[in-house]
């Protein structure tokens, strides 16, 4: 009995979860315990064919360790390399922290929904994010910069625990030059810091936003997301204009294994980016 050739494009390999191989080409340390890994598929054709939308993620695989869902943090227009900004917290990501340039990793993706860059054209954009929530939004920022004329006022309000935890600080000047209002805050100030102190939702209410024509994009710790949404709704931003990227323990990336379920959604397939009205009916149910 011979194996039957699979039918659909998505199961293009006969093996469920079979990884494609990519080489680490550079590693950029970003903050304590966080680095960006730049990788290329070892097969040039695969690299050429790889396209993603801002907000999507890949499953990164280390044989013997397992897989980890990592959002793509690089420029979608850069077809030479793929960037993943990784915090070393789990079994897989801690093993990633020990990898060097030239090492090989497994990759599957891209997966999931993305920031609605098309739908929000013509609108003001308010991006509220915290900590490791900025990397999934960086591709969106690049997209905005490349298409700046298509959007109204664009504000990035970004917070981190301390100034040392801020992601991509070297790029802020460039983003500002491109017409993005970059506002940074830290939870705890120190000698190196003379900017804003306080959490993101606390500063959020200080900004003037035109609720009728502003899209709010938010990503970060779930507690921050909840407060940002609360604050945005309080200021009459309709839930249809609020977009949120959620994190659950994605495992298969295909809405098949069940782990990342939240209500009627598998976050890996129906998310990670949601329009808030899709979540509203159960978002505040505890432990759901």
């Amino acid at each position: 009995m011979t194996a039957i050739a699979p039918e659909t494009a998505k199961s293009h390999s006969g093996f469920l979860l079979e990884p494609h191989w990519a080489e680490i080409t550079a590693i950029t340390p970003e903050a304590d315990g966080i680095s960006t890994y730049w990788i290329r598929f070892t097969d040039p054709a695969e690299q050429e064919a790889f396209r993603f939308e801002p907000g999507q993620f890949n499953m990164l695989y280390l044989p013997g360790f397992g897989e980890s869902a990592i959002s793509i943090s690089s420029n979608p227009q850069d077809h030479e390399k793929i960037g993943h900004t990784i915090r070393f917290v789990g079994n897989v990501t801690r093993a990633v922290s020990r990898l060097k340039v030239g090492d090989i990793v497994g990759l599957r993706g891209p997966f999931g929904t993305y920031w609605p860059m098309k739908e929000i054209e013509g609108k003001d954009i308010f991006i509220a994010c915290g900590g490791i929530g900025l990397p999934p939004l960086r591709p969106a920022l690049y997209h905005i910069i490349q298409n700046r004329e298509k959007y109204g006022k664009v504000t990035l309000l970004y917070g981190a625990r301390t100034s040392g935890d801020l992601m991509f600080p070297n790029e802020y000047a460039e983003w500002r030059k491109a017409g993005i209002d970059v506002e940074i805050t830290v939870d705890r100030g120190d000698a190196n810091w003379n900017g804003r102190v306080g959490v993101v939702p606390m500063w959020f209410y200080q900004f003037r936003i035109d609720s009728r024509k502003t899209a709010v994009l938010t990503c970060g710790p779930e507690i921050m997301i909840r407060f940002v949404i609360f604050e945005a709704m309080a200021r009459r931003v309709p839930s249809e204009s609020i977009y949120v990227s959620l994190e659950r323990n994605m495992k298969c990336g295909q809405g098949s294994c069940g782990h990342c379920q939240m209500g009627p959604y598998f976050i890996c397939k129906d998310g990670p980016v949601f329009r808030f009205d899709e979540l509203q009916s159960f978002f505040n149910v505890e432990e759901f």
Binding site: S11, C257, F282
Partner: protein
């Protein structure tokens, strides 16, 4: 009774019971592995069968919350039992299956997986509720946008001999879920057992062909009435009910009702209900590495939303409490499943009731939640 005549697809015939063994041999000649219910250590399991004699002839089953017993009866029927904790999903969605093995090759890895031989199963004795469960899992594993190659390879080759249920167990509620006891579709052969003959409806070209040389009669009006009568009787016998009229809203609109906590106090979070459920599909991967670090393997295993490790992520456990896990399970089965797949995730087979060691009965819990909500 000329042996070169073949029954038409859609026609109903009768065969002498011993002739069923001819059919089994025919299936084996065609490369099928017949699987059916059989008794092993006082339990009823699904396993390879050689002939009719392997079936639990003369038995019935007694099922209630937390208890299953085989009962020796005076009859000589083969299919009067209601299935045990096994379900057909273990053959289509194996509880443990190797995904691939990799061997270190220089800097990278080489896929050294040996292609697994995938058996062609012939399922003997699939109940209507179980057919509905297979249909539900088809929707999950063979979606338009994603097909699971492991499931599909097995599913495509299955030959199904379904059985009309004439003696439902106390835990059955398929009539409430609209799935049984009558088999309607998705079979190659549909069987109803009468005292002296098997009544078969032919559902596929292959089934028709397999009848070559097997003596049969066209089912008489009397036989067809008898079958109908038995099925009606089975429907009437089913006393357990689940009111689905207000589902999924009842659940989805009361996710923070305190009653969930009440169930949580009784639930062991042992995961048995999800494992015996013929529609539950959650799985996990296990990663292994050899001691020399040169071979890595990924294996897929059944998982459960009751597993404390199920919803762990970097930020902690999304469902740290037992009540939240129970709510996840029930609100998926009777709530969000509908939003995801268009049907409820329950077929009314009653396994989760019988195999709950804590004797939790979902039909009662939903009724209780409804009462609590109305208060």
């Amino acid at each position: 009774m000329p042996s070169d005549r073949l029954p038409d697809i859609g026609s109903t015939i009768t065969i002498e019971k011993p002739a069923f063994n001819l059919l089994l041999s025919r299936l084996k000649e065609e490369g099928y592995l017949p699987i059916g219910p059989r008794i092993k250590n006082d339990s009823l399991i699904y396993e390879e069968i050689e002939s009719l004699e392997d079936l639990p002839r003369g038995y019935s089953t007694e099922q209630k919350p937390g208890s299953f017993r085989l009962v020796r009866e005076k009859h000589a029927r083969y299919f009067d039992i209601i299935p045990g904790s096994h379900s057909w999903k273990q053959f289509l969605f194996p509880s443990r299956v190797e995904l691939f093995t990799l061997r270190k090759n220089g800097k990278g890895w080489e896929n050294t997986t040996q292609p697994a031989e995938i058996p062609s199963y012939a399922f003997i004795g699939v109940r209507a509720c179980e057919l509905a469960a297979i249909q539900i899992q088809d929707n999950i594993f063979m979606r338009s946008d994603f097909t699971d190659p492991i499931y599909r390879a097995r599913r495509q080759r299955v030959f199904i001999v379904s059985v009309n249920c004439t003696h439902p167990a106390e835990t059955c509620f398929c009539t409430s879920m609209g799935t049984g006891p009558r088999v309607k579709e998705l079979f190659d052969l549909s069987l109803t057992e009468l005292d002296d003959v098997f009544v078969l409806t032919v559902g596929s070209q292959l089934a028709r062909r397999l009848m070559t040389g097997i003596p049969f009669d066209d089912a008489s009006g009397y036989i067809l009435t008898n079958v109908e009568h038995r099925l009606n009787h089975a429907e009437q016998q089913m006393r357990r009910r689940l009111d689905t009229s207000d589902l999924p809203e009842l659940i989805l609109e009361h996710l923070d009702h305190p009653y969930w906590n009440e169930i949580g106090k009784r639930c062991l979070s042992c995961a048995s209900c999800t494992q015996v459920c013929p529609t539950c599909f959650c799985w996990d991967t296990q990663d292994e590495m050899s001691l020399d670090g040169k071979t890595a393997k990924r294996t897929r295993v059944w998982d459960s939303c009751f597993n404390p490790g199920y919803s762990h992520q970097a930020g902690g456990n999304t469902r740290p409490t037992i009540y939240s896990r129970y709510r996840q399970w029930m609100s998926h089965k009777f709530g969000t499943w509908k939003q995801q797949y268009g049907t409820l995730g329950c077929v009314g087979c009653g396994r989760c009731i019988t195999w709950c060691p804590a004797e939790i009965d979902i039909t009662e819990e939903i009724a209780a939640l409804r009462n609590e909500v109305k208060r």
